[in-house]
Symmetry: C2
Subunit: 194 residues, 2 copies
Amino acid sequence: MDALRARIRAEGRNLGNGILKVDSIINHQLDPTLMLQIGESLAVYFRHLAVDRILTAEISGIVPAMMTGLALDVPVVYARKTKPITMAGPVFLETAPSHTKGIDVNLLVSAEFLPPDQNVLIIDDFLASGRTLQALARMVRSAESRVIGVGVVIEKSFEGGRELMRQAGYDIPIHALATISSMAAGQIIFADED
Amino acid sequence: MDALRARIRAEGRNLGNGILKVDSIINHQLDPTLMLQIGESLAVYFRHLAVDRILTAEISGIVPAMMTGLALDVPVVYARKTKPITMAGPVFLETAPSHTKGIDVNLLVSAEFLPPDQNVLIIDDFLASGRTLQALARMVRSAESRVIGVGVVIEKSFEGGRELMRQAGYDIPIHALATISSMAAGQIIFADED
C-alpha cells in the first residue's frame, strides 16, 4: 500500500531493538483518511472469504480492525488486556508476551462476543513475532470458530512471525499492507512488494 | 440519535452504582455502521466550529473520535494511560480519577501531537462526572490551544458532569448523542431529546 509506505518512510523512526516508532500515524495520532484506506485495502484482500466477524486486541489493533469491519460490514470485537468492571459472564483468556512491554499480557474476550461456527478474520497493527496473533487464533479455536485469515498494517518480516504461525499450524492467508524486511543499523528497509 | 438509543434500550444493562454495560455496542464489541453514524452525528453538530484536531482518551474514546475525525477530515490524537516504549520527547500529563477502576489514571499526550493555537474538539464515549474530559481540557490549555467543544456518545446526566465542566470554567458546547437521566432502581431512563 503505497500511501502507507510513504508515511512510514517520512515519519517512522527506528528506535533500535526492532522497535518502530510510528505513533504519528498508527498508535497515538491517527490520520482518519489513511485509516479508511487501510481498512479498505485489508477488506479487498479478505472479502472473498465470507468473513463473519473480526477479532483484534486493544489498543492499536482497534482502529485498523474497525475500518476493515466497516468495509466488510461485519462486527468487530477487541480483546481486553484487563478485565473491565462491565465484563460479566464467561470469558476466553489467552496470554501472550508483549513485544514492547517485556511482560506477558492477558487477552480476554467475553464468550458472548465470540460465538461458535464463525469465519473470523484477525486484524492487528503489527505482525512481529506473531505471539499476539497466535493467542488470538487460539481463542478463536477455543470458541469453536475458524480463523480464516490474518491481516496486519505492518509486518516486520525479520522477526519471523509469519513462519512461526505456519509452524503452529495456521495455514491461512496472512496479508500485510507494508512489510519491513530489516531494521538493522538504524535503517528501515521495505521488502519488495506488489 | 434514535439508532443509538434503540441499541442501548435493547442491549444496555444497568449493573448498579451508575455502571452501564454497553460492551456489545461501544467498548468490547463494535458495530462499524453504528459507529460511522455516531461519528457523522457528532461531526454535524461541531462542523461549524472549524475543528483543527480531535483529542480523546484510550480506550473506548478512540473509535467515536476516529469516526468523528473521518467525517470532519481532521487528525485524531488519543491520550495514553501508560507510557509506551515508543513515546519519546516531552509529554503533557494530567491525572483523572477513573469511574470504573476506582483509581487515578494518568493521561499522556506527546507534545508533538498537541500543537499550540489549534481548535481542539474533545470526544469520548461517556460523560459522567466529567473528570476525564476536564483532564483532557486542561491538557489542551497547557498546550496553548483552545477546547472548542465536547462531544460524547452517552451522557449520564444524573452524575452532573456537564455542570461541573461549566463550574470549572469550560463555557463551550457539550453535545451527547444519548442522555440517560436516571439509573435508579435498576432502570435506564433516557432524558427527553431532540
